[in-house]
């Protein structure tokens, strides 16, 4: 009857687990496995990127100039900071420091929000310039001339569009697919963070029970990590 006694004392322990430790480790393993599925989900898009880049490197070299490196770098910094506040939040939960925990969670959500706003500004620019995916790729001529590389024929006065390789649109398809799916994950992460923020405010987490903070933290770090790969692959091409 030891189990039953333990259950009566610990409201967080589900009936089919023997100890809180077993429950925590199960949850953690489950979360890691879920992250594996996320990696495979993005893995397909990275493969897509790899296939097209190795077959048509000229498209990527040409088109990446249309992305705003400054905003991309800003977003990278924002996400790395939000990862820091997330890790700090987990530590605060483990130590039972509720005020620090809620503060860190709020800061992490804010980081996500800033990221999405910056991303929104970037998308808006692309929209205005007609630099969209697949069949909606209709670039505004002045943008092409202003941003495209000026070498060889172009430097000699020929129109810059002549340098444009075939099927540049595929770069923007890949750009929007990858950053779009990533943005969706940031949004989901913010929703999860908001949920544990509410629970943290109620004082649910402490040294004995902090699994949800830990698991959402793992998810947030993965979303951050994916961006850290997306940024150089899309923005910083030579």
């Amino acid at each position: 009857m030891n189990d039953a006694a333990a259950h009566a004392h610990d409201p967080h322990l589900a009936h089919h687990f023997a100890t809180p430790r077993q429950q925590f480790e199960s949850g953690r393993l489950g979360m890691w496995l879920f992250l594996v599925t996320e990696i495979l989900l993005f893995g397909v898009l990275f493969t897509l990127y790899g296939v097209y880049r190795s077959n048509h490197p000229e498209i990527f070299v040409y088109a990446h100039r249309f992305l705003d490196k400054t905003l991309g770098a800003l977003n990278t910094a924002v996400l790395i900071c939000s990862s820091l506040t997330m890790a700090w939040a987990v530590r605060a939960a483990q130590q039972g420091r509720t005020r620090l925990l809620t503060g860190c969670l709020a800061a992490t959500i804010l980081g996500g929000l800033v990221f999405l706003c910056v991303k929104g500004v970037e998308y808006q620019h692309k929209w205005k310039d007609g630099l969209l995916w697949g069949k909606h790729y209709q670039p505004v001529r002045e943008v092409l001339e202003k941003t495209a590389p000026r070498e060889g024929a172009a430097a000699a006065g020929a129109p810059a569009a002549a340098d444009e390789p075939r099927n540049v649109r595929i770069f923007f398809s890949i750009y929007f697919l990858m950053t779009g799916l990533h943005g969706l994950h940031v949004l989901v992460g913010m929703a999860l963070l908001a949920w544990i923020l509410v629970r943290a405010k109620r004082g649910e987490f402490g040294p004995a029970y902090f699994a949800p903070v830990d698991h959402v933290g793992l998810y947030w770090h993965l979303v951050d990590l994916i961006w850290i790969y997306l940024f150089p692959l899309l923005y910083l091409i030579h």
């Binding site: 599925t37 397909v44 398809s173």
Partner: protein
């Protein structure tokens, strides 16, 4: 909590909500059972429509026999037959019903690791099914179950609805796999080491790995297809610089391992049945366990054998062909171990064992004809003919479906608490075996004679009509066999003899529990031993069940 006599998971709680929102793995298993069998019925009706249509070639003299639908309708019917059978029946089939039911019991656990996730997984399955039904009602689908581009991006049928259904079902499958892996890692009782796990659990573990690693790839591929149709991203569209063959790579990167999601649990069932009904310790336990994992891993590197004629490179095709042959090694290891288990065993031909024997025979044919298709030269000849159709039906129906029925008859007493008629069970199993071969063996011949698959008509190959007629007659005999089965199983539910705890003499932990089990399975984890040691079990004539020789009390009673 104290067990009350007569209370079991079936009568513990009544009403719609106590089922639809239950967290009990056993009830979830039963709900899956009802839903999956309904899907099988739907897919089965489609197959009968196909076989009726193919009774005669479209020549003036045979009209109107075998002319029940238009070509467009035919395309939709065979597409839905494939999509429903694959996504709604064969993939979830054994893990979702029998895995959910038996896994925690076999581990002596009270439930799977994440009961709420398990319920969510079932609800997602239900939503996915609704999407498929809506697809049938609104615009249907005629791409074939593979959704190949560019056809799937240009057809006017409702590809988006169907792919959304596939996406949702993918999540259901992923969550089940994730749940099982964590359950097997973390909820084993003290003393149950990896090599004391029942082989069905090993098979589920290997299956879950594939579900986890392969299904996300299908998910995103289907999303890309939706983006292609709805937004025109052009990833798979040559006019926009895209590559349609890339779709096939992504699709088969999931869908070939998915073949092992289907067959591995069936092989797991097989290992249980062969050992229990031979009353002999399983031969080569470790080899069977490792071969499950080997199949799971090798299965990831052979997807290109679906694309020998799709324009992939010759070198790639050769490598894929060689790797394909390597998968036959662990599969053969299993078959030989089952045969060795039966050798000098005390074989009793109860209904589940009839299915187990059927499996060996039919899976043998299915597996060996797979070698014809894995070889480059013969595949070019046989590609997209009825030979392929016959091959995968021998594996999917002759393998997975037969093992599914073996599992159904094996765990039926445990799940429902009732016994069924052994006589009718054997008759149905035999009829099913004969009817199955009658349906699909002629299709091997049709294929080698050059009849392409998926064609509405075979007027230029009129001389093949007798083979088509044999196949169609077989299909209707299959219907008869399933009708008999439905009859005696329903009879068993309402009038069947009450099932004892251990009717077959199994030594895995679920047989130490009452039939049907109490809501929380085990009050204390049962003692763990070798799952295939039958030496201490003997048949008690009076109680018509197997009991332990030393003591007659059951380890766990309701």
């Amino acid at each position: 909590m104290q067990s009350v006599a007569g209370v079991n998971y079936l009568n513990h709680g009544k009403g719609f909500r106590s089922w639809a929102f239950t967290l009990d793995h056993k009830r979830i298993a039963i709900m899956y059972g009802v839903a999956i069998v309904a899907a099988f019925f739907l897919g089965g009706v489609m197959s009968l429509l196909i076989r009726t249509e193919l009774l005669a070639p479209k020549t003036p003299e045979t009209f109107p026999i075998g002319n029940i639908m238009k070509p467009d309708t035919y395309n939709r019917v065979f597409t839905l037959h494939g999509a429903i059978m694959i996504f709604l029946f064969v993939i979830p089939g054994i893990p979702a019903i029998f895995g959910n039911f038996a896994l925690p019991l076999m581990l002596g656990a009270r439930d799977v690791a994440f009961p709420r996730l398990n319920l969510l997984s079932f609800h997602l399955y239900a939503v996915g099914t609704v999407f498929f039904v809506l697809t049938m009602l609104f615009g249907s689908l005629d791409t074939g179950w593979t959704f190949y581009t560019p056809y799937s991006t240009t057809t006017h049928t409702n590809v988006i609805l169907a792919t959304l259904g596939g996406f949702v079902l993918g999540f259901s499958s992923i969550l089940t796999g994730l749940n099982f892996i964590v359950t097997i890692h973390k909820l084993r009782p003290p003393g149950m080491t990896w090599f004391k796990l029942p082989l069905f659990v090993w098979a589920l573990y290997a299956t879950s790995i594939i579900q986890l690693l392969a299904t996300p790839v299908l998910g995103i591929t289907l999303l890309l297809l939706i983006a292609e149709r709805a937004l025109g991203v052009g990833i798979f569209d040559p006019q926009l610089g895209g590559d349609p063959v890339l779709y096939q790579h992504f699709f088969w990167f999931y869908s070939h391992p998915a073949v092992y999601i289907m067959i591995l649990p069936a092989m797991g069932v097989q290992s249980e049945l062969i050992s229990v009904f031979s009353r002999k310790h399983i031969f080569g336990y470790r080899f069977i366990a490792y071969s499950s994992v080997a199949i799971a891993l090798l299965g990831f590197f052979v997807w290109g054998h679906h694309m020998f004629v799709s324009g992939q490179g010759t070198l790639a095709s050769m490598i894929f062909s060689a790797l394909t042959f390597s998968v036959s090694i662990p599969s053969a290891i299993k078959v030989f171990n089952w045969l060795a288990t039966m050798y000098k065993g005390s074989i009793s031909l109860e209904t589940p064992m009839c299915y187990a024997l059927s499996f060996i025979f039919l899976f043998g044919i299915g597996g060996l004809t797979g070698l014809f298709l894995g070889a480059l030269a013969t595949d070019v000849h046989l590609h997209d003919t009825y030979f392929v159709v016959a091959h995968f039906h021998y594996v999917m129906f002759g393998g997975v479906m037969i093992a599914f029925l073996g599992a159904l008859h094996y765990w039926w007493p445990k799940m429902t608490g009732r016994m069924y008629s052994e006589t009718w069970g054997r008759i149905a199993a035999l009829l099913l075996f004969v009817a199955f071969n009658l349906t699909f063996f002629p299709q091997f011949v049709l294929g080698t004679r050059g009849n392409p698959r998926r064609y509405y008509d075979y007027a230029p190959l009129k001389e093949l009509q007798p083979l088509h007629i044999l196949s169609s007659v077989g299909a209707f005999l299959l219907l008869a066999a399933f009708t008999i089965m439905l009859g005696y199983l329903l009879h068993s539910l309402f009038r069947g003899r009450k099932a004892p705890a251990n009717p077959w003499g199994g030594n895995t932990l679920e047989w130490k529990c009452a039939s049907p089990p109490p809501p929380h399975n085990f009050e204390t984890p049962p003692p763990v031993g070798d799952p295939y040691d039958f030496s201490h079990l003997e048949f008690d004539e009076a109680r018509e069940e197997y009991v332990e020789r030393s003591r007659t009390g059951e380890a766990c009673t309701a």
